[in-house]
């Protein structure tokens, strides 16, 4: 589904991302972990053509992302608040995204209402604009919006951050279900190792832009990751540069 080849991103003399070869098959739930500045958001931004690669390219379902826009109909994402339109109510926002993705009001209603559990009664019919919702509730709305229109690729940057425990657990279920039952390719990044090992069937570790681990998730994965990030293997992995992963 997604192929990255010789992909690098350089700012001045600093290389923030350098991936020689990465393939993500269709329907995989793919986890990306790494410390601040590891290149996670850079990779996602490249996938969405929000920044240009210095060398190489990404191919998403036979579409080269930086030269054609044909990937847009089947790809959706929630990266941060800049994916929300603050002056709309959540409902209006869902309909807006739905209209852009060729869904009518009824389609959107049906999808959104299947997430009522996830919303926990704090999103719909609140008479509030998105900008006035709490961070966690904004995130809930943004994540659900990225499911509108049956996308084949869903990209979520740090979806678990800022969510309350109940919602975190529900989100894990939703993501697993997307990949397993609807054959959606889901890309998730997270700082929470236990969440990501629980949800993803494959985990890739980035460190200063380099791909250092590519693990098929098993019972031993969490331990392996914890050892890696505790510094046993990479002594100075915690240098934050260039990226703002708030």
């Amino acid at each position: 589904m997604i192929k990255a080849q010789n992909l690098t991103k350089t700012y001045g003399t600093a290389t923030v991302l350098n991936i020689e070869n990465l393939e993500i098959p269709k329907g995989q739930c793919f986890g990306l972990v790494g410390n601040n500045g590891a290149g996670k958001t850079t990779f996602f931004s490249l996938l969405l053509d929000l920044i240009q690669p210095t060398t190489g390219h990404i191919i998403n379902n036979d579409v080269q992302v930086d030269s054609s826009e044909a990937w847009k109909p089947f790809t959706s994402a929630f990266i941060d608040e800049s994916f929300l339109i603050g002056y709309l109510t959540p409902e209006e926002y869902f309909y807006f995204i739905g209209e852009l993705r060729g869904q009518n009001k009824a389609d959107v209603d049906a999808l959104v209402h299947s997430f009522e559990d996830f919303f926990h009664g704090e999103i719909l019919n609140q008479k509030k604009y998105l900008r006035d919702l709490s961070k966690g509730n904004q995130k809930k709305a943004g994540i659900v919006a990225s499911f509108i229109g049956k996308p084949e690729v869903v990209i979520l940057d740090e979806p678990f951050a800022n969510l309350d425990p109940t919602t975190q657990i529900r989100l894990k279920g939703i993501i697993k279900n997307l990949a397993a039952n609807q054959n959606t390719t889901v890309l998730v990044s997270s700082h929470d190792l236990s969440h990501v090992t629980e949800v993803c069937e494959r985990i890739v570790v980035l460190d200063k832009g380099e791909l250092v681990k590519d693990i098929k998730t098993s019972a031993a994965t969490l331990k392996e990751l914890e050892i890696f990030f505790s510094g046993a293997e990479a002594p100075d992995a915690a240098v934050a540069v260039f990226e703002d992963e708030e």
Partner: protein, 490 residues
């Protein structure tokens, strides 16, 4: 303690994003400020002699008569643009400071605002001239201090009424009504206010009154703030109850309709675009300056077309100028959604065209000033739709300035407004139609001039598709730079 506060203030000023502009702009802005200071100084010195020469009475008394309107205008301007001191209080709440100190500091900050001491450039020289001209020194000093106390009263009143539209607009409406009454000689409010201001001079002890009022208002503001210094009270941002709107009649326009719906909500629900809309309404009356003898230069025939462009194109200039920056807060979303740039640009174009048409219809009152006046507006509208609408969209590709929708702070005079490319693009918006008209006017007659300008507009419409292709290409080329620029907070 004060030292800490001052150093915070110093840093927040010199490290603010707007301060980090390029050197040329800083120099330009410096000159701009200097120009205003000098202009005010001259006004301060000159107004005495001007009033004296005009022989409408004693200069001080004339100033005292109309000064009430100055205060109302001052309050209006403050209400619209002066920033409230609450914004930077939050981080101070958690520190071991007494609440009183924080409030004193915040209010003190408003005291140092340009909105207050800016008046010194007028009133100081004016008072000095009064002294030179032999007015009673004690009276002049009392008057001067009285006026300043009143300016500060206005400052604290603004702090108190901030964001209370229900109080504010009626007050302004009453004063506008009073002004109109005075103009038509029905009722003269200044007959009742002037004695007070004259009293400041004639009976210097009266200066106590404004000072007492000022000190009273200061403590009222102080108490109000102190009482409301909680995150869920005074420090809470203004939250409005969301109204969902059904604009589904726009659905027939497909994707363009989707964006149009969004743009209408954008304008209705955000402060900054709302101001742009309001200003475009005021542009309707700009034409009154032309041909009415109000400003001499404007009476030339060629300037009529200049006025016509502005009257119908208010929205184009206030809103259109900043496309696509209005969407800067969620530009990343727009760029990764299933959106065709063509639809996006088309929707903005329709918005501008609809607004231009509405302005043109509203401007029909110019018919009272003769068919020629309205003809200029009509021709201006055609040119705006045919040519200028494309030019603003083109210019937008180069204005990479993130807009904070909820704040009016930079609504007047943005630094990016001065970028070279947009300057060059704004020339054909105004100068070109004037030149075309002039060609027709001087070689044949005015009618030919109008026809030529309208023809240019119609020609522009005919080339719409080709122009849109070009604009689309430029937007795509600038995409990454634009995303990067929008990420930096203003």
């Amino acid at each position: 303690m004060l030292k800490h506060f001052l150093s915070l203030q110093w840093k927040s000023f010199f490290r603010s994003a707007s301060f980090k502009t390029n050197l040329a702009l800083k120099i330009f802005m410096g000159f701009f400020a200097l120009y205003f200071i000098v202009a005010f100084l001259f006004m301060g010195v000159g107004s005495y002699y001007l009033i004296e020469k005009a022989e409408i009475g004693d200069p001080l008394e004339v100033v005292n008569k109309y000064i009430i309107y100055l205060f109302v205008l001052d309050l209006l301007i403050r209400y619209m643009i002066q920033k409230m001191p609450i914004t930077n209080i939050k981080p101070l709440l958690y520190l071991p400071l007494k609440k009183g100190q924080v409030v004193h500091y915040s209010l003190g900050k408003t005291v140092a605002s340009f909105f207050n001491w800016g008046y010194a450039f007028f009133f100081l020289p004016f008072s000095i001239v009064l002294l030179i001209e032999g007015y009673n020194p004690l009276g002049v000093v009392a008057w001067h201090f009285g006026i300043f106390a009143l300016i500060y009263c206005s400052n604290f009143i603004n702090v108190l009424v901030n964001n209370k539209d229900s109080v504010f607009y009626p007050v302004i409406a009453i004063f506008i009504a009073l002004g109109v009454c005075q103009y038509f000689g029905v009722f003269d409010v200044t007959n009742y206010t002037a004695p007070f201001f004259n009293g400041l001079y004639n009976a210097p002890w009266m200066v106590i009154l404004p000072w007492v009022a000022m000190i009273g208002l200061y403590f009222a503001a102080f108490n109000y703030f102190k009482k409301n210094m909680y995150l869920d009270a005074g420090l809470k941002g203004k939250q409005t109850v969301a109204k969902t709107e059904d604009l589904s009649f726009l659905n027939r326009f497909g994707n363009t309709g989707t964006f149009l719906k969004n743009d209408i909500k954008l304008i209705k629900r955000n402060k900054r675009p709302k101001t742009a809309g309001l200003m475009s309404f005021l542009f309707l009356f700009y034409g009154l300056l032309f041909g009415s003898g109000a400003v001499e230069v404007y009476d030339g025939p060629i300037w009529q077309i200049f006025g016509g462009i502005f009257v119908s194109g208010g929205f184009l200039f206030t809103f259109g100028q900043f496309v696509p920056s209005w969407d800067s807060a969620y530009y990343q979303l727009m760029m990764s959604q299933n959106i065709k740039y063509r639809d996006y640009i088309t929707s903005k174009w329709y918005l501008i065209v609809i607004a231009t048409v509405i302005s043109t219809v509203l401007a029909s009152f110019y018919l009272f000033f003769g068919i020629n006046a309205y003809l200029a507006v009509l021709v201006g509208a055609i040119y705006n739709i045919g040519v200028n609408s494309h030019l603003v969209l083109l210019g937008g590709a180069f204005i990479k300035m993130p807009i904070d929708l909820t704040s009016n702070k930079k609504a007047f005079g943005d630094k990016q407004a001065f970028n070279m490319k947009t300057m060059l693009l704004s020339l054909p918006k105004l100068i070109l139609p004037m030149l075309i008209f002039a060609a027709g006017y001087y070689f044949v007659n005015a009618t030919t001039g109008y026809i030529l300008v309208a023809a240019a507009g119609i020609l522009g419409m005919a080339f719409r598709n080709i122009v849109f292709d070009k604009i689309e290409k430029i937007y795509k080329k600038e995409k990454y730079k634009t995303i990067k620029a929008y990420k930096q907070k203003a």
